[in-house]
């Protein structure tokens, strides 16, 4: 299998302008003559002398990116916001030029970087299919030939002659994807466009992409924040971080790596926390999270094991016994989802070390994806030693909890439970 895409040492630099901090007195005459000179230089595309660039900064959106893609591969590209994923796709789609490095591409590339590129709201569905197809590179004859298939995939037959501005957002996305899906490129690049659209549509798109790759041997580059979709569709995943390739490997490994921070910055200290009461005989110094292998994590996945680490300190030189520790998980509406406490989970601790960590192990956290806030408490019944509200926030994401590659709907409840169905 030959290489279809070869990326070597790719880099993209942007210039960031900063407002100059000192506005010292400058003669207007000088400003005008300098400005005229620079204008002339810029018009001719020549570089402006460094002196006037004191307030500009180089920003490397991508630096030293290298990887290879073979024909028929399904490669996922993941990374935090600002990692450089969209910039990479733009360069591969020839929308913008790289600053360094090179890319070799064999075959026709079709990119879906935005849904409905070129759609004009005043034109009807039928007209927009032709327009969008032409913009994406299809010949008119080709569009005519595939017209019925496209309409069929998008399920908008009734609305073909209505202006697109009257379409619902779901119909809009379906139509846009339908045109792009029938492009028959050798390489298909998809940026996070499937986030819009219901679950059924997303499944349809994923199936179509799988078909296109498996049956017709086309290559797919897929950028997404939906880890479930990435795990299901892709065979290889590239992790981008701050413009560089951090890792390339199997979906499971790379997704795990994505969730682990580079430095243990997940610890939070809260000397100045707002909602904090207690006599501080025992006080918390920080909260952090670990997975079952004691590796620090910043994000939890529904259904996976997680440990909450509470660092504490005893004020006086005393070893307390029988202390009660509690951790409460609240959703953003302030509702308590569940409470963990050693007093009712059946563990008692004698002679606690003066300084140490308390671990709360949850074998399989049932929280639905979202953001949660933690309250932490320690003390005896009747004596609160340290009680901090909103001590920490935990983001929970779906890493394909139900192992179907599909994302359950947004309002599927506060917790997800494993289950299966049967006909009887």
């Amino acid at each position: 299998m030959s290489n279809v895409i070869t990326v070597e040492n790719l880099g993209k630099k942007y210039l960031l302008k900063h407002r100059s901090r000192q506005d010292s007195y400058v003669a207007l005459r000088d400003v005008m003559s300098e400005g005229a000179k620079n204008m002339g230089r810029r018009l001719l595309g020549r570089a402006v002398p460094a002196g006037s660039r004191a307030d500009q900064e180089d920003f490397w959106a991508l630096r030293g990116v290298s990887f290879e893609v073979k024909q028929g591969d399904r490669v996922g590209i993941i990374g935090r916001n600002g990692a450089g994923k969209s910039t990479l796709l733009k360069i591969l789609s020839r929308i913008t030029e790289p600053s360094t490095g090179s890319v070799r591409i064999r075959g026709r590339v079709a990119s879906l970087l935005e849904v409905g590129t070129g759609f004009h709201p005043e034109l009807t569905g039928r007209e927009n299919i032709f327009l969008n197809g032409a913009i994406l590179g299809m010949a008119r004859a080709e569009i005519r030939k595939k017209f019925d298939e496209i309409v069929d995939f998008a399920e908008v037959e009734k609305f073909l002659d209505t202006p697109v501005k009257r379409f619902s957002s779901g119909m809009y996305v379906r139509l846009a994807f339908a045109v792009a899906a029938h492009l028959e490129p050798e390489i298909l690049i998809v940026d996070e466009v499937l986030a819009v659209g219901d679950a059924q549509f997303q499944k349809k798109c994923m199936c179509k992409m799988e078909d296109v790759s498996a049956k017709e041997g086309r290559t797919i580059l897929f950028v997404s924040h939906n880890m479930g979709a990435v795990k299901n569709l892709c065979e290889r995943v590239v992790l981008l971080n701050r413009g560089a390739v951090e890792a390339i490997g199997s979906p499971a490994d790379i997704i795990q790596k994505y969730m682990t921070p580079e430095i243990s910055t997940s610890e939070l200290s809260f000397e100045n926390a707002f909602d904090r009461t207690g006599d501080k005989s025992v006080s918390f110094t920080s909260v952090s999270y670990v997975d079952e292998h004691m590796r620090p994590v910043q994000v939890a996945c529904t259904g996976m094991a997680i440990g909450i680490v509470l660092d504490y300190e005893v004020a006086a030189h005393a070893n307390y016994s029988g202390l009660s520790f509690e951790v409460g998980f609240y959703n953003l509406s302030g509702e308590l989802i569940f409470l963990c406490g050693n007093s009712f989970s059946g563990q008692a601790f004698d002679n606690l070390p003066v300084k140490g960590k308390m671990y709360c192990w949850i074998p399989s956290i049932s929280l639905a994806p979202g953001l949660y806030s933690l309250n932490i408490y320690c003390g005896y019944p009747g004596q609160t030693m340290d009680w901090i509200q909103n001590a920490s926030h935990l983001r929970v994401i779906d890493a394909d909890f139900f192992e179907t590659g599909k994302t359950p709907p947004n309002n599927a409840g506060m917790v997800w439970v494993p289950h299966h169905w049967e006909v009887g």
Binding site: G45, R94, E97, G107, T117, G118, E122, I135, E186
Partner: protein, 275 residues
């Protein structure tokens, strides 16, 4: 399957594939023009009529102001016909300039999301104006019939002058659209240029009234050659073309076009970053 040609993307590269891509994307020229025309007609009730009303109205005003009041000579040809024959290329040029200078900015969403040779965008703007031009031609035929004015065989040379008008507007359009992306000031320069040009070009008057000493500077206006040519082709020897001046204008048109293509291609790689 299909072609397995390799494309190499490197900084500063692009020229190799560009002209091949222009051919491959040739249908896009017409699709973008088709889109703009469709949209225009969908939104207005008098969309088609506008292409007729505009030149007719200007012709009327010019006839009254310059023909009756100022009594500028029209060399034996009915004044409205003389004005209209010059208005035709001028309107085409002015509209093309206005449309193409804004074309890149108006299509900014395309520039940042899809790849296609960007030269197509200002070109399709010029094509839209070509459609307006053809409608105006029909009106001209009507005006000439009204005055029982029959053109001689020189009218067959009209396509040559039309080509020159096309090149002139496309060349200027390339410059302005590329400049407009980076320096939005040009958006305001264009209407001013058009206004100014209307009085400096032989639309309301004929080139014969320009005094000898001013001739050289006069012919530096590339549109002059085009309009003179049009007048001569349609109206005959009453409006002789100053051939040296015409040559000067033509050379200028070609220079502007070549410069426009060069500048556009040079700035093209930054469009997606700046638009």
């Amino acid at each position: 399957m299909t072609e397995q040609q390799e494309i190499i993307i490197k900084p500063g590269m692009g020229a190799l594939h560009y002209w091949r891509d222009l051919w491959r994307y040739r249908e896009l020229f017409f699709f973008l023009a088709w889109r703009d025309i469709l949209v225009r007609y969908k939104q207005t009730a008098i969309g088609v009529a506008w292409s007729v009303i505009r030149p007719l109205a200007t012709m009327l005003v010019f006839t009254v102001v310059f023909g009756r009041l100022a009594k500028l000579p029209s060399n034996g040809v009915p004044y409205p016909v003389m004005v209209y024959a010059a208005m035709l290329p001028w309107q085409f040029f002015a509209n093309s300039l206005a449309e193409s200078s804004n074309s890149l900015i108006d299509n900014a969403n395309l520039l940042t999301k899809v790849y296609f040779p960007r030269l197509i965008v200002p070109a399709s703007a010029v094509i839209v104006c070509l459609v307006d031009f053809s409608i105006s031609c029909v009106v001209l035929a009507g005006v000439m019939a009204w005055y029982h004015f029959v053109p001689d065989l020189k009218v067959l040379l009209l396509p040559a002058f039309l080509l020159m008008a096309l090149l002139a507007s496309f060349g200027a359009g390339l410059w302005l659209s590329a400049l407009n992306v980076k320096y939005r000031d040009f958006r305001y320069v264009v209407p001013f240029l058009v206004q100014f040009g209307l009085y400096v070009s032989p639309v309301g008057f004929s080139s014969s009234i320009v005094p000898e000493s001013w001739r050289f500077f006069y012919f530096l206006n590339p549109v002059v050659g085009v309009i003179d040519g049009f007048r001569w082709a349609i109206l005959g020897d009453a409006f002789p073309v100053n051939w040296p001046g015409f040559l000067l204008s033509s050379v200028l048109v070609l220079l502007i076009l070549a410069g426009g293509v060069w500048y556009f291609r040079r700035m093209e790689r930054t469009f997606a970053d700046v638009a």
